[in-house]
């Protein structure tokens, strides 16, 4: 429903200080290492993130060919949990905040 002029309320502008900056999302990175098998990396990505075989394979190849791949992006809390699970499977994994 469209608002009429009389319903429109103008809110004061709020200045965001340093501590009030809107949080940028966090990336979960998987890094290449020469020991982990390619088939295993793809398997773990499917198991933890529920990705399709094609998507897991594409991400695994990105890790292998480019040295790293962003396998998930979102809240810091979940990113920490995913990195914990990936490292628990002995993959090289890190969290990194998305650059603003």
């Amino acid at each position: 429903m469209a608002a009429t002029d009389t319903d429109t309320e103008i809110l004061p502008e709020i200045e965001l200080g340093e501590e009030q900056e809107i949080d940028l999302p966090w990336n979960v990175l998987v890094l290449n290492d020469p020991v982990n098998l390619m088939s295993y990396v793809a398997f773990v990505l499917r198991k933890l993130f529920g990705y399709s075989q094609d998507k897991a394979r594409r991400l695994m190849l990105e890790v292998h060919e480019r040295g790293r791949s962003v396998v998930w992006t979102g809240s810091r809390e979940r990113a920490e949990l995913y990195v914990q699970q990936l490292q628990g499977h002995q993959l090289l994994a890190r969290i990194e905040q998305v650059k603003g």
């Binding site: 290449n32 290492d33 020469p34 020991v35 982990n36 098998l37 088939s39 295993y40 398997f43 499917r46 075989q53 920490e80 990195v83 914990q84 490292q87 628990g88 499977h89 002995q90 090289l92 994994a93 890190r94 969290i95 990194e96």
Partner: protein
């Protein structure tokens, strides 16, 4: 050595020669990172690179809680493997059928539920061997290459690749790592992916 799925609940090894039994019994000692800082750091990783000062508490908590959990988890996996190895028994006539020679052969049956522990222990062993014996250079290239001469493998160390261990020890570590990797590939293809 032959890898087999026995049923939905078990997989394992058959036609194991004595030296292959020794290879499997070597998994636990190969997986022990003690005395190798690089292997320790590879197994127990930080959650982020180049953290700022504001991450100190997070990193301390990670060290205190998450790393300890990994240690327990990894040690438990190796213990499962060691327990399973207690079940190695001489091959039955069926298992040894078609095999030449008179050397004693063995078999080992492992519950499917233990496959993740086996994979983890084998992976720990390969990660530790790779770091302890520097089996890869800084670009991830293998330090050992193998060629074949009249059916025999001939291993060569890359030029300039030095390590505290002798070339023979490093080549032996390389072959152990390759054998463990072969078992891992089989587990991924035949046990892990059954449900996918």
């Amino acid at each position: 050595m032959k890898l087999t799925t026995f049923s939905d609940e078990a997989w394992g090894f058959s036609v194991l020669a004595g030296h292959e039994v020794e290879l499997l019994r070597n998994i636990a000692s190969a997986a022990d990172p003690v005395g190798c800082g690089d292997a320790e750091r590879r197994l127990y990783q930080p959650p982020m690179d180049e953290p700022g000062e504001e991450e100190k508490t997070f990193l301390d908590d990670w060290e205190d809680f998450v790393t300890i959990e990994y240690r327990q988890q990894f040690v438990a996996a190796v213990a499962v493997v060691e327990g399973d190895l207690g079940g190695i028994e001489p091959c039955t006539d069926d298992c040894a059928a078609g095999q030449e020679g008179e050397a004693e052969l063995f078999s080992l049956r492992i519950p499917v539920a233990h496959a993740e522990s086996w994979f983890s222990a084998l992976n720990q062993a390969r990660l530790v061997l790779a770091n302890r014996f520097e089996l890869f250079d800084s670009r991830g290239e293998e330090a050992v290459s193998v060629s074949w001469d009249e059916g025999r493998p001939v291993a060569t160390l890359a030029a300039g690749s030095a390590n505290a261990h002798s070339p023979n020890e490093r080549v032996f570590a390389y072959f152990r790592s390759q054998a463990f990797g072969f078992i891992q590939e089989w587990i991924v293809a035949n046990v892990f992916t059954r449900g996918f």
